[in-house]
Symmetry: C2
Subunit: 710 residues, 2 copies
């Protein structure tokens, strides 16, 4: 019942949660992310008061917390109960108790209060008492105070609304943006009871930013190499050069796709976490994590998880505006998962699979996200659906579902619900707003589509691929391609691939009419790139449903000619065995070839003129023209059912930008550099209008921060 | 042991076979197809002589047959033993015993015999004694005679060679064209023993056509509506208007894909047919058809069979020359199959499925064709692999595998081996030359591909679709679309589809500047087609692996805009329930819409000038241009894994023309008719450069007779 007050390393304060587990009160401590304001508010030992709690599928009022210290930090334990699984999400409402903050407020002159004088004014400190544990939960919207006690039972989203109680509803509406509609404000208006006291308002007539709680305060720290699309909730992908450098994406670089905050379950108390399973007849059964591990055999499955929005950025650039996070090619990662088979657990829970009705298995996470899969997939041992607690030989990280997540190999990752708290076998699909991620339309000028609702949810994923690394010219000659010449890798050890590796001795080092590393800046640029300019490409290919990738084709000339890439035999390498009944992993591929001859601008201007873009048509089968200024690299994959990728994003365009699986195109253009301060020295270097290039680092600014369904 | 001598209806002769079944001699009688010469040769009662036979996986020499009649017709019982399954294929060698034929030979003057005088001459009548039942089998090639006794055991194709014994090898080499190579003739040269006597040679120094046996003599009669690609072996597809008129393709119109002749098993003796199963340990087990039916539960599975070459004709027209039968869109059909589960039979035969090695189930047909599927597919009850003896409620027709065939739903039809005689569970794929049907290359200018051998065999099929019916303008207004306005069909009974059916009252009957049915031929043509010109389309969509079709998209303007077609709910209709664990059937679709306005030639010339073709670009996303002269209709389908079809055949081009699954395009062009003798009367009618049009009858001459691997 006592929490530490200081983080041993950061000196940051620690927050505590009160939660219930089968009628027993438990306190979890949270290592709070250090932030500017919060850092100055130490949290003392917390005292529990009030009546004991029992578990339930509905939220119970939690007793209020009070500090035993005089320098109080009130912590709102906005606990959330899903079935028998319990968790506490922490919202720090303590900042205003910091004297410094209150002093600052005192210094600013309050605006005149011309609001309805018939309604009372409330101080934020008093509003905070009406938190999720209160019998009279209140919320703030703008400068108004609402008593939502009567509304909670009717709220379509359920008890999640209580997370906002005692504070502002606005950060939650930023997440659940469906609320940003007039009819929602009309509902809220019915519960208006007063206004925030002007003493707690800033110059703009609203509570200060510091006084608004941050639902993401307990999110874990992330690897700085991740390219972040949104901070809250965090959505981030690994940089391409890290994405598939190894067969298993390292845990800290595995792409992060969150709809909300990261629920907090303390590692030391994880054995008190429980999963609830509800069968069609209403019977429920609970399993602690320890029980799951003891009762069922541990299974390992090597599987990709991929967001339906992977490569959405591509669709936007090639076909038109799409709604949603503008993912690059990194909303996909591969890992070795460890857990127990869902089919084993469901059988143990008493599920009768003889039922022939088309049932669904609904997963619900601790943060309220949910999604479902067909029961036929769940109960088929060959589907390898796991309740996973391990990832790449380590415990599941918090960002990836600690302590337990579903892993549904071969399906869209939206089904692999993290922080799993409840499983319901039902005759309905999950009603989560994330359940349906359908194609809305094909073709940019298509109007509203009457068939939207009839489109099935995405489960199994179609075949896709991407180029994640490009090396050109000197990059190849100078041995900067990690897998070239490395006899230890699985590609080089494949004798049949030897012929595909460029013979470096045969690559001319003297460019036509141009001397590399020439310090004389008056030397004219060559008129074209040299013949046999070497290029090396790498990337991944993947298909859903456990269908193996059987071939990857590469074009260096925009689709005019094709050649097959080498498939890296990761699964047959002793160091990276693949677990599972089917081909759930990605297939990495490698390719080396020679670029077509391209023309260079006559001047030695270091930057390529924009007009050149028009010269670099991206037609699917451009006419064979000598001396184009740019060329388009393309990759496409084929799976064992001989399904292959669509040629263009226009052909599969949908306004949600889902399943952007068209051939992956990377346009590259040569340029003539003066050698001033450049790593490349003077000579022909390469860049692209798509921020790919030699060494292939995707630039972070290209990754736009756009949220789904704005 | 006695055969009838006359067919009761045709008066044609009957041939008999001697075969063995578990050591017992059985005679099968064959109703021979009446042909010009053979009709005049009655076959008398046959007498068996020689030693008794035992079954074996190698061919046993059969005792010779002799006629008890003085007017002898020798019948070569080129029996073929595959495991315990037995069958006789009939080759009529009797023609030369017909006195009329011999008389005709006598009338022609024999050419001078300037061949090697050191070798003997043989009469055909004597050569025929060295048939498949002889201990010294001989064959003829051109005018030479070979004793192949020593060669049989070494022959890579096995005992099949004995089918040719006693006669010419040439008709078999026409089927097994791999033999048309110098090294094969070198092998044969070793066994030369002499020449055909000049008395049996025609003016060209070769045996007359009549004296060469026809391996296809016992093929069944076929429905004349079938469009025939090759006669021997028969390869034929139903006309489009029949293909998917009903959900189940009628047996007599189901497409026919044969590699060889149709083996003959007499219906009355079918209970003596037996299937042999050989397990990995070499153990064998045999089942008669009666045993299969008695011992295992009968299952029904509704499933498509589709040739890997379906729509090859499309690939040829749009991407370049391909080798193989130039199938239209009809190398696919749908039927309800009845049989027993392969998984049940394999389990009964004692197969241990715990073996984790990647085993294969090899099927061999009575005519020597073979193909295999992975064991994992064979033993999974959800894969619904059948040993089928019924088709659409009737016994399996001879053309479709009577008495027993494999049906492997969701896979390429090449795996659904007909006339099934033997099943071998092995660690190897079938070595049949038809096993590998890989993409050879992508891109028309790709050279020989070193990865050919590494490409996996086609098993599961990718998603495809086709337009099988088009009605335009008056065809729609005049109610010639069978499914429009028919309240009994499953489409019209779907309320949501009502809005998609064109409101006929709203369709203008008066064309702009043009009076339909005007008898005044000087009336000028309109300059363009009317607005809202109605069009109706129908077709099918299908994906392998049991993946349901979830949407079908149609474009009427070459891909510029798209709309969804209605999916016909056949499987939910009480009259056409679908059997099986997954979606193995095709999905029929229907669409109505309005065509874009197109320009018409200024003259009223009835035929469209060829130059118009150039005006009708088939680019995937043509620029939006008003007043094009033609438009391209497109259909594409998406399956439940959201795999969709490639846009162009160029993108999946392979020289074998396999898996031609690109968007199906049908270009249509309006023309102005004078009304002279035309059914349409005077007005705007439609035709296409691809022989589709109003009413959509594919013209037979378009279907070229080309054989695979010429």
């Amino acid at each position: 019942m006592i929490c530490d007050t200081q983080h041993p390393h950061t000196g940051g304060s620690l927050h505590c949660a009160i939660v219930t587990l089968q009628g027993v009160l438990v306190i979890f401590a949270s290592k709070k992310m250090a932030t500017r304001v919060i850092r100055r508010i130490p949290v003392d030992i917390l005292r529990i008061r009030g009546r004991p709690l029992s578990t339930s599928s509905t939220l119970r009022r939690l007793p209020k917390l009070a500090s035993r210290s005089s320098r109080t930090a009130r912590v709102a334990p906005l606990s959330f109960f899903v079935g028998g699984g319990v968790i506490a999400s922490y919202l720090t409402l303590s900042q205003l108790n910091d004297p410094e903050i209150e002093d600052r407020h005192a210094e600013t002159s309050s605006p005149p209060d011309d609001r309805d004088p018939s309604l009372p004014r409330f101080r934020l400190a008093d509003i905070r008492k009406h938190d999720g544990s209160s019998s009279e939960p209140w919320v703030i919207y703008q400068d108004k105070v609402y008593d939502i006690t009567e509304w909670v039972a009717a709220h379509p989203g359920g008890d999640v609304i209580l997370r906002a109680a005692g504070g502002s509803i606005e950060p939650y509406w930023d997440i659940f943006s469906i609320h940003k509609a007039p009819h929602v404000r009309e509902v809220l208006q019915q519960y208006l009871i007063g206004y925030i006291d002007v003493a707690d308002l800033g110059a703009d007539g609203r509570p200060t930013a510091e006084s608004i709680e941050d639902p993401f305060i307990n999110d874990p720290a992330r690897d700085p190499r991740l390219i972040t699309h949104t901070l809250k909730p965090r959505n981030a992908e690994p940089p391409n050069e890290e994405l598939d450098r190894s067969f298993h994406t390292p845990n800290e670089l595995f792409y992060v796709r969150h709809h909300m905050w990261v629920p907090f379950v303390e590692e030391g108390r994880v054995d008190q976490y429980a999963l609830t399973i509800e069968l069609p007849d209403g019977e429920t059964k609970q399993y602690t994590l320890a029980e799951l591990k003891e009762r069922f055999p541990t299974q390992r499955v090597t599987a990709v998880l991929q967001c339906s929005g992977n490569r959405r950025n591509d669709m936007t650039r090639h076909a038109g505006k799409t709604n949603g996070l503008q993912w690059g090619v990194g909303a996909i990662s591969n890992a070795e998962w460890e857990g127990v088979r869902l089919s084993d657990v469901l059988a143990d829970a008493g599920l009768q699979t003889a039922n022939t009705a088309p049932l669904h298995v609904q997963f619900t996470g601790l943060e309220a996200y949910g999604a479902s899969i067909p029961l036929s997939k769940a109960v088929d041992p060959a589907s390898d659906v796991l309740l996973a607690f391990g990832m790449n030989g380590k415990p599941l990280p918090r960002d990836h579902g600690f302590p337990l997540r579903a892993v549904v190999p071969g399906n869209v990752a939206a089904r692999s619900v993290k922080w799993l708290s409840k499983i319901v076998v039902s005759d309905e699909e999950s009603t989560s707003q994330w359940q349906r991620r359908d194609y809305k339309s094909f073709g940019p000028n298509e109007g509203p589509n009457p068939n939207w609702d009839r489109a099935p949810s995405i489960q199994e994923m179609p075949v896709t691929s991407a180029i994640t690394g490009v090396w050109v010219g000197d990059c190849v000659r100078q041995g900067r391609v990690p897998w070239m010449g490395n006899s230890n890798n699985s590609l080089a050890s494949n004798p049949s691939s030897a012929s595909k590796i460029i013979d470096m001795a045969a690559v001319p080092n003297q460019r036509i009419g141009f001397t590399p590393k020439d310090s004389n800046s008056s030397t004219p640029c060559p008129t074209s790139t040299p013949a046999n300019e070497p290029i090396a490409l790498q990337g991944y290919a993947y298909s859903g449903g456990g269908r193996a990738i059987t071939r990857v084709d590469v074009s260096l000339d925009g689709g005019l000619t094709w050649d097959q890439a080498e498939l890296v035999k990761d699964c047959s390498s002793p160091s990276t065995p693949c677990y599972g009944s089917k081909s759930w992993s990605w297939t990495r591929w490698r390719y080396t070839g020679a670029l077509p001859i391209l023309s260079l601008p006559s001047s030695s201007a270091p930057s390529l003129p924009v007009a050149v873009k028009e010269d670099c048509e991206e037609g699917i089968f451009p006419r064979k023209e000598q001396q184009k200024r740019c060329t388009t690299l393309i990759v496409k994959a084929t799976d064992e059912a001989y399904n292959t990728q669509p040629e263009s994003h226009k052909g599969i365009y949908n306004v949600r930008g889902n399943l952007a699986t068209a051939w992956h195109r990377v346009k590259i253009c040569p340029k003539c550099t003066s050698g001033e301060g450049g790593v490349e020295g003077k000579g022909v270097t390469w860049n692209t209008g798509e921020t790919y290039g030699c060494g292939f680092r995707k630039e972070a600014e290209e990754v736009r921060e756009e949220m789904l369904r704005k």
